[in-house]
Symmetry: C2
Subunit: 335 residues, 2 copies
């Protein structure tokens, strides 16, 4: 049975069955021309949208449907986390190829619904369409934050320290394992594959950092650390020196890249799919930031400093190994 | 030059160039992890998302790029109108095939930006991705309305009168003309083609009807009148009798269907792409509703009544021509 055997209404019913009832602040949910929600008093709305496309951001041939649904929401939760916003609701716009089985459709929604529940996020509505092209999941997520708690990319200042949450590289290594069709058991790569399939958005860390005003800038590393460095430095008009030795590389990922003849640092810095947060903070905020990370239960590693000189430098033991134009690029969606 | 020759940042810059500056209620617009907006005091947020896919909802081979951009936003504005909500902002998520020319990309954004400006709607952000599949435009639109002004599908009661705005069938006839490759000049079909390419969402009518509390239920006819009748009657648990002779069929469309051997009523009732509003209102609200339509500058035609008996009947001169299971269906996205 494929999705083209069911009516739109039947497909929507199968989504609704997987969702909790609408909360009281949502007077109109799924099933009308639009959803209606009450804003949070004294808060701003924080809005983001992200699409994932089969063959570009995931691969139906080796991704479990639950992982696809999880990813579609996780990428958006990560954006909200990077703004310091608490997740509230999402709209799902799904473009379904006719050959998608109803079983896969349901499992995809299960994966998404499970992550939504974890973060107290409600699905307020959406859209279903068929497509002659690849399976595409477009999710709009809306969160809320107080005005002074919003974290942007543009607040970093010279002298601020640069941090990342968690560890880097596991998802990229997991993806390589999947693409190379090496069994994940070889070299204990199962955790990396899991990290690729089920990225964990750092929602609690982002919210706590925002609430405690513990950062000058923040963004998520969906397109890799190199992209984060480029984006925050450009938006804040500062330079950055990143210490290659300080990077919290995932141990299994590092080993995998070494065995396969790639330099782990340059591979991992340029790779996307790490949904960690990159945070800048003045040294005065150091304690506050550490406390927020500890409360969120997440590792926090200082990896560099912001400089007045607007140059990007990756260095090892004080010696630049890449700078300026040769500083790595993140994942590129276009050219 | 195609979109794959530019970087994501260059494409975003070409979108921003076509948009007015962010309003003061949008402290963070395009360019961060998410957008940040102030809610409207004492209003609810009204949220909708709709995707249009090349080969399903439009055809790049005969649609001007401006019409594609226009349509992507218009379908969402129509949903906001049907809720009685004033448009406020949109997020654009575009999946671009590598062969899309930059010229077409820019003209598509021009078409969307022009319609946004007309309705004082601001683009707050979005997402760009490449796709190996068809051009897909996914737009999330957010409006606002006071709680008591929200129009839903579920408020129709037995005895309420059924109305539609504007006229029906022009867009469907225009699409047939394009698909049959008949020159639009034959039989003066240029207006119908224009109605298909540039549907006019009934934003002002919807807002005025909501603000004056002049309706018991409302929805837009994007999937055709038959779909509207089915949806409102199901949501409100009423039956409906629709008078075929009363339907405000577009004259050119009626002529075109007759000439081509189709019954105009059944063709038009089942056809999508009319972005008119279907409204139910108790007879006591008749004057208020007429006044709202007049202020909005739009025709309003009574086409039937809601009944206690939960049956759908299409009748002509008092005789049922289709009823129950044989009542027409609207446009079906799936089975």
């Amino acid at each position: 049975v494929t999705v083209s055997d069911l009516t739109e209404r039947e497909l929507i019913a199968r989504i609704q069955r997987r969702l909790p009832p609408s909360p009281s602040w949502m007077p109109v949910g799924i099933g009308d021309d639009a959803a209606v929600v009450e804003p949070v008093r004294n808060h701003l709305d924080v809005l983001t949208v992200d699409a994932i496309v089969d063959g570009v951001h995931f691969d139906r041939r080796f991704s479990p449907p639950e992982a696809i649904g999880h990813r579609a929401l996780a990428v958006n939760l990560s954006d909200l986390a990077a703004m310091g916003a608490s997740p509230r609701l999402a709209l799902l716009s799904l473009a379904l190829p006719a050959d998608l089985s109803v079983d896969h459709f349901e499992r995809m929604i299960d994966g998404l619904a499970r992550l939504a529940l974890t973060h107290h996020l409600h699905v307020a509505g959406g859209n279903l369409t068929r497509t002659p092209g690849p399976l595409t999941l477009d999710v709009t997520a809306i969160g809320s934050a107080k005005r002074r708690q919003v974290l942007t990319r543009s607040g970093a200042r010279a002298g601020d320290e640069i941090y990342v949450t968690g560890s880097l590289g596991a998802a990229a290594a997991g993806l390589y394992v999947l693409q190379s069709k090496t069994p994940a058991s070889a070299g204990d790569m199962a955790d990396c594959v899991e990290r690729y399939f089920y990225p964990i958005p750092r929602v609690r860390a982002g919210v706590l950092v925002g609430r405690n005003r513990a950062a000058s800038a923040c963004m998520d590393l969906s397109d890799g650390l190199a992209d984060g460095v480029r984006q925050i430095s450009a938006a804040s008009q500062v330079g950055m020196i990143v210490d290659a030795n300080a990077l919290p590389l995932d141990a299994a990922a590092r080993g995998w890249f070494e065995i396969h003849g790639h330099d782990p640092v340059s591979s991992i810095v340029a790779a996307g799919d790490d949904y960690e947060l990159m945070i800048t903070a003045s040294p005065k905020l150091r304690r506050r930031l550490r406390a927020a990370a500890q409360t969120a239960g997440i590792a926090l590693t200082k990896i560099g400093v912001c400089t007045k000189e607007p140059e990007l430098i990756l260095q090892r033991e004080g010696v630049a190994i890449a700078a300026g134009g040769s500083f790595p690029e993140g994942f590129r969606h276009f050219r």
